[in-house]
């Protein structure tokens, strides 16, 4: 059962990711990205990360991607035009990618040969445990992120406002 779930949602994720990269219109890429995030949420559930799965759907797919869609609408971005080229990318892009994927995949295969994942194998990912950790030993990073978000809000407002004439 777990294997089937994994395969289904892994393939959905990969296909949507390929779609993100391949589609010419940004809105199509955005929708595909939502699909990636959704399937990743299911995979998190498989790994026992209940809180993270929920957060993924609420924050990432529900807020960040909506923001993306709004900006695409605002900019009236059309299909991408094929202008401009880069020598380095043409020469090195594909080989490096293949190298990256190949090396990481190769070495990853050798790691943890015996560990397997099954639904329910990790029990510490609930809201209670996350909350205890966030407000316990990891309180400082948590508070710092609140400042970070404040900075981001102020920055975004300043950058995007209209000029006063």
């Amino acid at each position: 059962m777990d294997v089937i779930l994994f395969f289904v949602f892994a393939i959905i994720a990969v296909v949507c990711a390929i779609n993100v990269v391949v589609q010419t219109h940004p809105i199509s890429s955005a929708i595909s990205l939502v699909g990636v995030m959704g399937s990743l949420a299911v995979l998190y559930l498989l790994l026992g990360a209940e809180f993270l799965a929920a957060a993924q759907v609420i924050v990432y797919a529900g807020a960040v991607m909506v923001l993306f869609v709004f900006v695409i609408m605002l900019l009236n971005a059309g299909t991408e035009k094929k202008e401009g080229k880069s020598f380095a990318v043409q020469l090195l892009g594909v080989p490096l990618l293949v190298a990256l994927l190949g090396i990481v995949a190769f070495f990853v295969q050798r790691l943890f040969p015996t560990t397997t994942v099954h639904f329910g194998g990790f029990t510490g990912g609930g809201v209670h445990e996350i909350g205890m950790a966030l407000f316990g030993p990891y309180l400082l990073p948590f508070e710092v992120t609140s400042i970070l978000i404040l900075i981001a809000i102020v920055g975004a407002v300043v950058l995007a406002r209209k000029e006063m004439d």
Binding site: S86, G93, L96, L100, I103
Partner: protein, 617 residues
């Protein structure tokens, strides 16, 4: 005793005139400069009278100059009989020439500078004479060379004067190189440069070593005293003012070589080969330069070659073992050669700068005092008895005959030539019709009083019996038996020379020119000084200058050193130019470089995390 006062008085004159002379009036400059030298002379007299018989040297030690390992050089002055003679000559003749220069340089620019340099010269010369070790003597040696350069190039806006100054200094340097090598050898073998210590150990030392030291010291003397082959600077040095020629290049500096050789007599006594070399060099130089002086037309050049020739006589005397005869000739030569130069300065002054003998004539009635004083000097140098030159020259020739007769005959021939060319100059300048265009006038008293004093000394100076004074000072010299027939031969040679000069230039004036054109080859060679300067220029000067310019400057310095330094800069510029292309402004290419770096980092990390290549944990 305060021997230090003797050189310090002129040095004080140099400092005062050098620093403040520009603002002084002429009178103050005179008082400072001449006063310091005259005071030094007075102090010399007082010191010598107070020291008594000077059987042994009287030394004074002032401070230790160098103390380094085994090398211990003190600032020591010493006075013995040899020093006493030199001190009297330097300060006495120096004072007379300084007084003369007051009048001669009265209309020249740079008045205070001239006297400052002259005083500096007196300081160094006195240090040279008073020194009690080789290094201090060398200080004086180098210092007089420096002052010679400064004074020869006194008219520094004239190219030929500055060239002559350079030539003098550089040729001197070659001699100094030999002197330095001799000092190194002396120090290494005797452990000290002190005269006393060195001469004490000299008799026991190896003859080969002493000969080498003697030869090297000879090289130094050769440069300073203008002997073959390093004499070429002296005729050119006539570019300086005439008092300079008289003081430095006649009476004092050029005799420093003779003094140093005489001072080193314990070394030379035990190195017969070196002494032989000195004698040969002396007599050949004497003959060689006398032959050049026969045909020169510039009055100062005649006397310059005469100086080289007479210095050759002095070295002949020293080389044959007659050290005291050589020193005697130093003294008499100082009298009559200084007088000849000062007299020619008086003639030049009278004719407002004319120096060519062919444009003079008949001056005997117009400038009589100069004429009579120069006659005194001429008969002295020609060796006519009982004047000063006869005694000293005769003593040298006697020693030469005793040593090697061929040197005697060559010396006699040179004596004849000496008489000839000196009287040729006298006859051309003072007799006959005046051939020039100036208005000759007699010199002021400040100039002819020193001439008169020197004239008296030239006539009567022979009666100052130097060999008797220096008896017992030089030990181990061969005994010279009296031989009156030799004396008559040398007197005859002098008189014959005078008569030939009279015949050529008084009785039959056209004979000289016709003889010159018939013996054209010989005349041209002699007139052009045997082309020695041209030979030196082609063989030594041009290769060195060319080598320096092309190999060392353009090749090594500009090419190699500058090239590598600039090349480094150009290389980094080139590398920078290539690396600059990475900054293309294109974000995607930047991302590619980041990806490249991260892939490399991943590879390295994964390799490092395995224990061996290909295996994993």
């Amino acid at each position: 005793m305060a021997l230090w006062l003797i050189p310090i008085l002129p040095f004080a004159g140099f400092v005062i005139n050098g620093l403040f002379g520009r603002r002084f009036s002429k009178a103050v400059v005179n008082i400072v400069a001449i006063g310091s030298v005259v005071l030094a002379f007075a102090w010399v007299l007082k010191t010598l009278l107070g020291l008594g018989s000077l059987e042994t040297a009287a030394t004074e030690h002032y401070f230790t100059w160098i103390q380094s390992g085994n090398l211990n050089i003190g600032c020591d002055f010493a006075v013995d009989r040899l020093t006493a003679i030199m001190l009297l000559i330097v300060t006495g003749i120096g004072s007379l020439i300084h007084i003369y220069a007051m009048g001669y340089m009265a209309h020249e620019g740079g008045y205070y500078r001239f006297f400052a340099y002259m005083n500096l010269f007196m300081f160094f010369m006195l240090v040279l004479v008073l020194a009690a070790n080789y290094l201090l003597l060398f200080v004086g040696w180098e210092g007089v060379g420096l002052c010679s350069y400064l004074l020869i190039g006194f008219y520094f806006d004239k190219q030929f004067a500055t060239n002559a100054g350079n030539k003098a200094f550089i040729v001197n340097r070659i001699g100094d190189f030999g002197f330095s090598l001799a000092m190194f050898l002396i120090f290494v073998n005797f452990g000290s440069l002190d005269f006393g210590k060195v001469f004490h150990q000299a008799p026991a030392a190896d003859t080969g070593l002493l000969t080498t030291i003697g030869f090297l010291l000879l090289v130094g003397a050769c440069g300073k005293s203008a002997q073959l082959p390093l004499y070429v600077w002296l005729p050119d040095a006539m570019a300086g003012p005439t008092p300079v020629s008289a003081l430095i290049h006649a009476a004092t500096m050029v005799t420093a070589g003779v003094y140093m050789t005489a001072r080193s007599w314990p070394i030379y006594i035990h190195a017969p080969t070196a002494m032989e070399a000195i004698a040969i060099m002396g007599v050949v130089t004497a003959f060689f330069s006398a032959s050049i002086g026969l045909v020169q037309n510039d009055i100062k050049k005649v006397f310059a070659y005469s100086t080289v020739s007479q210095l050759g006589y002095m070295f002949l005397g020293v080389g044959c073992g007659a050290f005291s005869a050589g020193i005697w000739h130093v003294m008499t030569h100082a009298f009559f050669k200084a007088l000849l130069f000062l007299g020619s300065g008086s003639v030049i002054h009278a004719l407002s700068g004319e120096q060519d003998l062919r444009n003079m004539g008949g001056l005997r009635t117009k400038i009589p005092i100069t004429f009579w004083t120069m006659m005194c000097a001429s008969v002295a140098i020609a060796g006519v008895p009982p004047f000063s030159g006869f005694f000293s020259k005769d003593a040298i020739l006697l020693a030469a005959y005793n040593h090697a007769p061929w040197m005697y005959w060559l010396g006699v021939l040179t004596a004849g030539m000496t008489a000839f060319y000196v009287f040729r100059a006298i006859f051309l300048a003072f007799f006959g019709e005046y051939r020039g265009h100036a208005h000759p006038h007699e010199s002021p008293p400040v100039m002819w009083i020193p001439l008169a004093i020197l004239g008296a000394l030239s006539l009567g100076g022979g009666f100052i019996n130097i060999p008797k004074f220096l008896e017992g000072f030089f030990q181990g010299v061969p005994e010279v038996p009296e031989n009156s027939s030799l004396m008559f031969v040398s007197i005859a040679a002098g008189l014959i020379g005078i008569s030939i000069a009279a015949w050529f230039y008084l009785l039959k004036p056209a004979m000289a020119d016709s003889l010159a054109s018939s013996l054209k080859l010989i005349y041209t060679t002699l007139y052009n000084k045997y082309f020695v300067d041209e030979i030196y220029d082609a063989t030594v000067v041009k290769p060195i200058v060319g080598g320096s310019r092309w190999v060392l400057w353009k090749g090594a310095d500009a090419g190699l050193i500058d090239g590598s330094v600039n090349g480094l800069g150009a290389a980094s510029q080139g590398a920078g130019g290539i690396l600059r292309k990475l900054q293309s402004g294109n974000i995607r290419s930047y991302a590619t470089w980041v990806l490249l770096g991260s892939v490399l980092a991943i590879v390295v990390l994964f390799i490092a995390s395995t224990n061996y290549w290909g295996g994993l944990q």
